[in-house]
């Protein structure tokens, strides 16, 4: 029979709150200055009251204590300073009596050099069993692929032993020889030690330094298959004789490398998530959630019985081994101003000092720790905000005595202060007289009470330990928002990483009707609607919500007063002559309530149903409407409707009030926009996937499945739950699970839809991977043969936001960093240089230092853009995509077009001069004064002779049209510039139009972010303007360099720089006029940006040297 641990549930560790403590530091019961088991027992009530459920004891075994007990000299005993084996058993009983589990250390990679095994080994003959318990060599060059971990103290992993007359292997200190797991005796001894402690009743074992058990030449000696084989044997021995126990692996590796330590549920039950911890700190300092999202995206699934161990701080340094060099440099600058704070590859500080003792920051990080997927591990003293002592050696500064009270020795011991194993903290901020348990217990607003309450709250909801996580991606990257989901519980967590209050709009449309209840105060918030859910969070604020199903409505089943009522029950009745007029009037008012109806400022003269399909089996109908405005023009709209029976009507009306067309007379339910009906959405998906045809009165709708339709939805055949995205304005987007998105084009126009056509081509014909792949389309053909695209099905790409928002955030950080740093003459000089020559030179160091990561990303974007153009330049049987020559005549035509558009724009500006805001007048005047120069600039195009290619292009390419996807980009929205005619958007053009679009976008984002920054701190204008120019120039240069490198031999790209410069200049100026027109008509306060851009372009062409 297996011997059970103290917990009832075999998965107890998933719900645990683990508290890490060194026995020596906790409480001294015998006044010898060292904490002991007797003292620990006395403090168990405190730990129980705090709410922790599992105690992790740092090594308490006999040891010379040269590495705080991780140098063990006897595996099966207790260090006399801490008590006896009986004392340990008494402690274990007392902890179990309080329903607390106990985890101890199993340090098996190495022993102390004082361990009898090592002493015997060094005396024994080479090759003898005793000698072979450790790893020996005659020279110190073997296993050279293994890195040195304790870089501050060790120069080699080999140390000469004069007694053995050989080198012994050690991955840590030279007094900690590694055990030789190639010797079966070693594993047997280790298992005996494990069984000894499991027989005492311990519930968990932390396997220390687990990646290094086995060594092999030619490898880095980490994570070797042989090591995993050893761990599996340890686990098998545990499972064979014991139940409800747990193994926690310490493997300081990237998540993907830690994943094998779970095996298939046959290695460790738990493993630490090391790389998350520094990224939490990084995200907080950067006020940007991205580092967290990146590492979580890189975190693989683990077996169902396994669990991550999460922590903010522990007994070691804040390890920076698993971050990039640049991230490490940042962390050192951000969190260890004093070099004494650094040790090995990390920062030896406690939580509170790392966060400048800011209570809100501490709470924020703890709230994330307690709500992320995994088991939280608290380090002793962090519940009261204890500080550290960086003047103590090694990592001893974070291992000082627990501060119980303001009494002598912090209430930790009655010994003479000089006898204490470590001095207590005495400084005025973190010293024991300010920070101690007794004081915080008596203060109900203390960090201790806060921590206790939060632990209590976490323990109420198993979903925190066992549920899955889904991140939301609001545009404000200072907000970290995520859902914790299980079959029984749904929780929304929102955290503000910024030191200032932040607004956020969350797309929670899938929870429409659900009532969020703030969990700390049990406060009901307004129910979630289909539109974005708005919240405001205070500085470093965090909110946890339980998502409750709405209470059943108690109203009667009839419509509410004032709601439209339709006399007809069926669609055919509604369209019959007597009822039709009333029905079309209802449609008219219905349209005006829809977000996707973009002509609300205009007056509808009439709405008529131009064609329809009745779908009685679905109780649905598809309508095509002709909407005529009072000005006489006509537009088509696509409106699917569904009739919802009375029993579902009330719930639907509560959730989708604007989608209600009318209730039906006589209790026959109500007509709604069918896009809000899950059943209809599933049917629509089926139409595309099956390639069904739906007959209208006068035309036919056909589903057109894409080549990858089946791949995108997956093979499982599962129903992908439909939800409405709140992001779209002019279209309606329906998401299917996390895999597909269907865009319904509400205002279809005849002919191929450029977006659908491009995505289809790039995805199915070119297999271009950096777009949301094509899943299919809904094509309507009217009786005259005219085609309309009513919908496009695409891959739903998980992303980290669009490029525009990302750039603004990067720019905000950039401006904040440089606001106090006036640009040097070198920077001013660099910022004034034209783009093209800059793109042909190496980046100056000052630029890489301040924009490095952004430039790397922009280079990737340039590469993807070139790859897209290369794909579009491939020969195609589809004439719409077949490249054509682009020569002098095309340039002449372009020059003519550009000159005409620029002339019109300048005329328009002149005519509106009196009505423009004062701050624009001067700029407009300057531009008008350069009219001749502007128009003449296009003349250079006509003087150029080229033999290039024109191809299909994106057409409206800017940062808002790309998504950040795990360090890369996905390009989307191929509709072209909305203000251009459809045929122009589908025309073959020079891809330099796209390049120019993106270059303008870099300049635009730099100006927009600067304007936003200066609105708060106008005094920084002079300092930051050169920095803004620098950003714009070098982002453009990096993009261009990368683009040209990839497209170097393409027939669409001019080989010589002069031609390239002329073309780019012309496209840039044309684009800037397009922007100016747009801004003057939609956002006049933004017109300053394209105006400044135009003036700069006229002054400094991109290619001028």
């Amino acid at each position: 029979m297996k011997r059970s641990g103290s917990a009832n549930d075999p998965l107890w560790y998933k719900d645990a709150i683990i508290y890490e403590l060194p026995v020596k530091a906790f409480f001294d019961s015998n006044q010898d200055g060292i904490g002991d088991f007797g003292g620990l027992v006395q403090k168990l009530d405190y730990l129980q009251d705090l709410g922790v459920t599992c105690l992790w004891l740092l090594p308490f075994f006999p040891s010379p204590l040269r590495d705080d007990g991780y140098d063990i000299s006897d595996y099966c005993n207790v260090h006399p300073a801490y008590g006896t084996l009986d004392d340990f058993r008494a402690f274990l009983d007392a902890a179990h009596g309080r329903d607390m589990q106990v985890m101890i250390e199993l340090v098996v990679n190495h022993t102390s050099d004082q361990h009898p095994w090592f002493q015997a080994a060094r005396q024994a003959e080479p090759g003898s069993p005793e000698r072979n318990r450790y790893v020996w060599s005659d020279d110190d060059h073997k296993l050279g692929g293994a890195r040195i971990i304790f870089t501050d103290t060790e120069k080699s992993n080999w140390t000469w032993d004069p007694v053995a007359k050989a080198y012994f292997w050690h991955r840590f200190f030279s007094h900690q020889p590694d055990l030789n797991f190639d010797n079966p005796d070693v594993l047997r001894e280790v298992l005996d030690a494990m069984r000894f402690w499991l027989d005492q009743g311990v519930d968990g074992l932390r396997l220390d330094a687990i990646p290094y058990l086995v060594e092999r030449e030619g490898t880095n000696c980490e994570n070797l298959p042989e090591t995993h084989a050893i761990i599996r044997q340890i686990r098998a021995a545990l499972d064979e004789s014991y139940a409800n126990r747990m193994i926690l692996a310490e493997a300081n590796q990237l998540p993907v490398d830690v994943r094998p330590y779970f095996g298939e549920g046959d290695e460790s039950h738990m493993a630490f998530h090391f790389p998350l911890m520094p990224r939490l700190f990084m995200a907080l300092r950067l006020e940007d959630r991205q580092p967290i999202l990146d590492i979580m995206a890189d975190t693989p699934e683990i077996p169902a019985s396994c669990q991550w161990g999460l922590f903010l701080r522990n007994h070691d340094e804040l390890t920076l081994e698993m971050v990039s060099d640049r991230e490490r440099d940042y962390m050192y600058l951000a969190y260890s101003a004093d070099p004494r704070m650094r040790v090995n590859v990390g920062i030896r500080r406690r939580l509170a000092p790392l966060l400048d003792n800011n209570r809100r920051r501490i709470e924020l990080l703890k709230s994330i720790l307690l709500s992320f997927p995994g088991t939280p591990i608290l380090y002793y003293g962090d519940e009261i905000g204890m500080g550290d002592n960086i003047y103590l050696g090694d990592r001893n500064g974070v291992r000082t005595p627990m501060q119980w009270s303001g009494d002598r020795n912090a209430g930790f011991s009655r010994a003479l202060p000089a006898r204490l194993y470590s001095p207590v903290l005495l400084d005025p901020v973190y010293g024991y007289q300010s920070v101690n348990v007794e004081a915080q217990l008596s203060d109900s607003s203390s960090l201790l009470h806060w921590t206790r309450n939060m632990i209590g709250l976490r323990k109420l909801f198993k979903v925190f330990g066992r549920g899955r996580i889904e991140f939301l991606r609001p545009s404000n990257r200072k907000i970290l928002a995520y859902l914790r989901l299980s079959d029984k519980e749904q929780i929304l967590c929102v955290a503000n990483l910024s030191r200032f209050a932040q607004p956020v709009e969350l797309d929670l449309a899938r929870f429409e009707g659900v009532v969020p209840v703030e969990m700390l105060g049990y406060v009901e918030f307004p129910p979630i609607r289909s539109e974005p859910y708005r919240l405001t969070l205070g500085p470093y604020g965090y909110l946890w919500f339980e998502l409750h199903a709405p209470a059943a409505p108690l109203r009667d089943l009839d419509g509410e007063p004032g709601e439209p009522v339709l006399a007809a029950g069926s669609l055919r009745e509604a369209l019959a002559v007597p009822a039709r007029a009333a029905f079309e009037r209802l449609l008219s008012t219905f349209l005006m309530r829809q977000r996707w109806f973009g002509r609300k400022s205009r007056v509808i003269d009439s709405v008529s149903v131009s064609d329809f399909a009745d779908l009685p089996d679905l109780a649905a109908a598809l309508l095509l409407l002709d909407v005529r405005y009072t000005e006489g023009d006509l537009e088509s709209y696509f409106v699917p409707l569904v009739r919802v029976p009375t029993d579902r009507m009330l719930g639907m009306r509560d959730k989708h009030r604007d989608a209600l067309l009318a209730t039906c007379q006589g209790g026959q339910g109500a007509w709604f926009d069918a896009a809000v009906d899950d059943g209809f959405c599933q049917w629509l998906l089926g139409v595309i996937e099956r390639g069904d045809k739906v007959r209208f009165a006068r035309g036919t709708l056909a589903g057109v499945p894409g080549r990858l339709a089946q791949t995108l939805r997956g093979d499982s055949g599962e129903v992908l739950p439909a939800s409405r995205s709140s992001a779209e304005q002019s279209n309606t987007s329906i998401c299917y699970g996390e895999k597909l998105i269907l865009k319904l084009f509400r205002r279809p126009s005849p002919g191929p839809n450029p977006d659908c056509e491009m995505v289809h081509h790039l995805s199915d014909e070119c297999s271009f991977p950096h777009i949301p792949r094509f899943g299919g389309a809904l094509e309507f053909v009217d009786r005259d043969g005219a085609r309309f695209t009513l919908g496009m099905l695409q891959e739903l790409v998980a992303n980290q936001g669009d490029g525009w928002t990302w750039s603004l955030e990067e720019l905000r950080l950039y401006y904040e960093a440089h606001a106090v740093e006036p640009a040097s003459p070198a920077i001013i000089e660099a910022s004034r240089r034209p783009i093209l020559p800059l793109s042909e030179e190496p980046l100056p160091e000052v630029v890489t230092a301040s924009m490095g990561l952004y430039l790397e990303a922009v280079a990737t974007l340039g590469r993807r853009t070139a790859e897209m153009h290369l794909a579009l330049a491939a020969q195609s049987e589809n004439p719409a995509f077949s490249p054509q020559p682009f020569d002098k005549s095309d340039l002449s035509l372009l020059a003519h077009q550009f000159r005409e558009r620029a002339g019109d724009a300048l005329d328009e500006l002149k005519s509106r001069l009196a009505a423009l805001p004062d701050d624009l007048v001067e700029l407009v005047g300057m531009l008008l004064a350069r009219r001749r120069q502007v128009l003449d600039s296009f003349r250079r195009l006509e003087e150029t002779d080229v033999a290039l290619q024109k191809i299909r292009i994106h057409g409206d390419f800017h940062l808002g049209q790309v998504l950040r996807v795990r360090g890369d980009f996905v390009l989307l929205d191929f509709e072209g510039e909305p203000a251009r005619a459809p045929e122009e958007r589908r025309a073959l053009q020079s891809p330099l139009k796209d390049v120019a679009g993106m270059l303008r976008s870099f300049s635009y984002s730099a100006s927009a972010a600067l304007a936003s920054y200066l609105a708060r701190r106008p005094q920084d204008a002079d300092t930051l303007e050169p920095w803004a120019r620098l950003w714009s120039k070098f982002a453009s240069a990096a993009f261009l360099a990368s683009y040209r490198a990839v497209a170097a031999s393409a027939a669409f790209l001019p080989a010589d720089s002069n031609t390239l410069a002329r073309l780019l200049d012309a496209f840039l100026v044309d684009k800037a006029f397009y922007e100016l027109d747009y801004e003057l008509n939609h956002r006049p306060t933004w017109a300053r940006i394209p105006l400044l851009g135009l003036l700069a372009l006229v002054r400094e062409p991109v290619g001028e040297r």
């Binding site: 009832n8 009983d93 009596g97 109900s444 607003s445 309450n453 209590g456 709250l457 323990k459 109420l460 909801f461 198993k462 519980e489 969990m519 700390l520 105060g521 049990y522 406060v523 009901e524 339980e546 409750h548 209470a551």
Partner: protein, 420 residues
């Protein structure tokens, strides 16, 4: 398990190894009534029907009043009556009380006998009728319920603690409308018996009055099917003589609050409440109800307001204290404690108990004057009303408890003293 420590008195015929029904009586120190209860149960089992095999068990750990002799005397009449106990306590294990140990013996016996139903009776229940056995066991055997609890007939103003606190509170907490949650008598299905033993439900400390509260909350929180049976009046030997109101209130509320603390993760997610199925028909109470002196109760409340301010202030927020202060100015309970005020007071005491803001016994005793104030108000309002109206009023109060539950949850989760 404790089987190895359990001494079973042997009887002459070969003891049965299985039984469909096990009826157990925790008997310790009930020499005056145990024979009556066992005989009635035996009769009840006899009347139950020929097809059911059964076993009657007396569990007695440490009687010193002759109970054991009484039981042995009965075994002459019924050789299948089994006597369990006493036990040796396992070294190092927590020491549960007598009631718990005896209950656990009965459950282990039921498990060992593979009983489909296990009925636990109260050894002091002198009013028990033989047909109660069938009424309590049938829903388990025939309707697949897991726990059956009684609803004893009462005079309309009897059961003030149940009406004013236990029923509304447990209903609001656990979402089940179990009218008399703490009846001291219950029947269990085999799967619930197994759960109780497997989860070591009785290893966790439970008070003398807390076994039925523990059983009830375990069943509801484990989402087992619970139902209620209308029975006649419950009369207990020695009731009302040995314990004063404060002790009874403290005992009952202590057990209810203990269960609250244990099951917090369950009840904090329960919203609203659902009816629980009834069996049988309500039994009319004969005779006149005992007189109730509302004025005396109100005076006790006023006295408490004058003398217990400091104690209450450790538990109740200032707005509540102020409301009580103004109420206590009235000579009579005319205005009375509003339902929402009363519900919040009970919730605040539950929180004070959880946080152990003072000695828990003292805290619970400090509730007595407040309870008397509520009871005086209740009697003042419905004393002259028919029984149905009194019941309706209790249901109304229960709805207020449910409506005030967010107050409890918010204070429980964030027990800041700085509140309104």
């Amino acid at each position: 398990m404790h089987d190895s420590n359990q001494r079973i008195a042997t009887a002459a015929p070969a003891p049965p190894t299985t039984a469909e029904i096990v009826v157990g009586v925790p008997s310790c120190n009930h020499a005056g009534t145990v024979a009556l209860v066992l005989r009635t149960a035996q009769t009840g089992l006899g009347e139950f029907g020929s097809g059911q095999s059964s076993l009657l068990v007396s569990a007695d750990t440490q009687s010193s009043d002759g109970t054991r002799e009484q039981v042995r005397g009965l075994r002459a009449e019924n050789p299948l009556l089994r006597e369990l106990g006493p036990t040796e306590r396992a070294a190092g294990a927590a020491s549960p009380g007598v009631e718990v140990r005896e209950l656990r013996m009965i459950l282990e016996q039921a498990l060992q006998m593979r009983a489909r139903a296990c009925l636990v009776l109260d050894a002091s229940l002198t009013s028990m009728a033989p047909d109660w056995v069938a009424q309590l066991v049938r829903p388990v055997l025939d309707e697949q319920f897991d726990m059956v609890v009684p609803c004893f007939a009462r005079h309309k103003l009897d059961g003030g603690i149940s009406n004013g606190i236990v029923y509304p509170l447990t209903r609001a907490l656990y979402g089940k409308r179990v009218r008399q949650a703490l009846g001291g008598v219950f029947a269990l299905s085999s799967r619930l018996v197994e759960r109780f033993l497997a989860r070591r439900v009785w290893d966790i400390e439970v008070s003398a009055l807390g076994t039925d509260a523990r059983a009830m909350t375990e069943a509801i929180c484990g989402e087992y099917a619970v139902c209620q049976v209308f029975l006649g009046p419950a009369e207990h030997a020695g009731s009302g003589s040995s314990l004063d109101l404060s002790s009874i209130l403290a005992g009952v509320m202590g057990s209810v609050f203990d269960e609250m603390n244990r099951n917090v993760a369950f009840w904090q997610k329960v919203r609203g409440s659902q009816p629980v199925r009834w069996f049988g028909t309500p039994v009319e109470m004969g005779g006149n109800p005992p007189p109730v002196d509302a004025h005396k109760m109100w005076e006790s409340f006023r006295l408490g307001c004058r003398t217990l301010q400091d104690v209450w202030a450790a538990v109740l927020p200032p707005a509540t204290l102020l409301a009580l202060k103004y109420l206590a100015r009235d000579d009579a309970a005319g205005a009375g404690l509003a339902d929402d005020l009363w519900a919040r007071i009970v919730y605040d005491f539950a929180l004070g108990y959880r946080l152990a803001v003072m000695n828990r016994g003292h805290l619970l005793r400090a509730l007595t004057p407040l309870y008397l104030g509520w009871l005086a108000s209740f009697v003042h309002e419905v004393g002259a009303a028919p029984a149905q109206d009194v019941e309706r009023r209790v249901q109304q109060l229960s709805m207020v408890y449910e409506a005030q539950k967010p107050y409890l949850i918010s204070r429980w989760r964030w027990p800041d003293r700085f509140n309104p």
